[in-house]
Symmetry: C2
Subunit: 265 residues, 2 copies
């Protein structure tokens, strides 16, 4: 928050008194050893400044191809591909996509979506893609609007949403419009938020292993702190995985699985 | 995170490039103007250190009665009272409480729960209260265990949960046990999380106005930054409000409301 020339920072220590003590001491002592950044903008100037300061840093989630630097994240192209292939596998023909922010995450998931369509001979229809979100799935009004727009024309029968909060909002709009989930329209999100299973339409999701990203980023940063002059840039890319719940569990798919199983001697 | 003598801090700037720039500059420039602390431990030493440094700070959510300092939060006693009175009003007789952390939040909500029971002539039964949570509603296993324990004896017909994530976990356990919500057992949480409406059992909740707490805390901090020697300690307490959804919307209550309405000429 910047106002009247003041810079104020809010920090958290996850209910751990030892961490809290360390965080406050560190803030008061003006010691900073390293940075983990989920950046929404990366300029040559910022990159040079960070390099010049000599403070080690690791980007998470998003990277900037023009700057070779330490990064830990998920394969976002695979996120989009796996989600879309799953919708295709349950029989969806008109698959929409509600896009995320214009970073490697949003672009990668969108490209993965298009790649999956193409691989299965489904023509890409720009009318089935919502414009970029300007907030990271936290703007409910924007998410509702994106889904309403998709339902304005001939409705899709499957939607891959950039993340779970967008999917939760989109599902509300679909239910309000009287659509049945997943029979009329199926949804896949991304994040695999814990409460996804507790939703009205328990949400199928791509798990992008956010905890693991945190663990790996911390490890990379700690190794950078130990070895002052690292030999190479670390670029860690995790593989996402699909978690299937009712929002894509169509009866005909269940029937299909039963038939396959019943055919097993 | 503290390991091998390194202190590492993780910060966020809500997808705003200007904030991000400011945060990184500030971190690199070692400038710190003020602190907003949701503290889980406050010692005389820490309090003195903060005072001595002259860095203004505001506590949010929780305060420590032994230290008179700037605070912004909700009336937690009212949270517990309103939630419990609501459960009483829909006809619950055996009202359980899953407790939060042992701070003013957890203690205040528990005291409010007991006060409401007492005011309505319902005897307090310690067997209907789960022990303290050690994590702030983020430990799902602990939340499941607390609810399972409550169902171990004669089950309650209403549960006031310290927060929404605990309620979401508790509801899963109740549904798994074959209970109908809200007919057999009603639930009230606290937080009024946006996705509460999208849950299997849309969750009644006490809104403790977390956004407003943030806004007010920022305002108090900014005023402290402007006036270097403030005359008095600021203690801002917001009133919580009840948001009713299906998890407490019993048919007999609906029927009751209908009867009341039908009696209106």
């Amino acid at each position: 928050m910047k106002q009247d020339g003041y810079a104020v920072m809010i920090s958290s220590s996850l209910e751990d008194p030892v961490l809290e003590e360390a965080a406050i001491e560190q803030l008061l002592g003006h010691r900073l050893d390293g940075l983990i950044i989920a950046s929404c903008s990366f300029s040559p100037a910022k990159f040079q400044q960070l390099k010049a300061q000599g403070t080690p840093f690791v980007l998470i989630d998003r990277f900037f191809p023009q700057f070779r630097t330490n990064f830990v994240g998920v394969d976002d192209h695979a996120v989009g591909r796996i989600a879309t292939e799953h919708l295709i596998s349950i029989g969806c023909k008109r698959i929409a996509h509600i896009r995320g922010l214009e970073f490697t995450t949003g672009v990668g998931r969108f490209e993965g979506y298009k790649a999956a369509l193409s691989q299965h001979g489904i023509e890409f229809d720009p009318g089935l893609v919502s414009p970029y979100m300007t907030a990271d799935g936290l703007d409910w009004q924007q998410s509702y609007a994106a889904m309403r727009k998709l339902l304005g024309g001939r409705p899709p029968d499957g939607v891959f949403c950039y993340n779970d909060p967008i999917a939760i909002a989109a599902i509300e709009v679909a239910l309000d419009a009287g659509l049945r989930i997943p029979e009329d329209i199926a949804f896949v999100g991304c994040d695999n938020l814990h409460y996804g299973a507790s939703l009205k339409a328990p949400l199928s999701s791509i798990d992008h292993h956010s905890s693991l990203i945190g663990v790996r980023a911390a490890k990379v940063l700690l190794s950078l702190l130990r070895v002052k002059t690292p030999k190479r840039v670390r670029h860690v890319v995790l593989e996402p995985s699909l978690v299937v719940r009712q929002s894509t569990l169509r009866r005909n798919t269940v029937q299909l699985h039963r038939e396959i199983l019943s055919a097993v001697p």
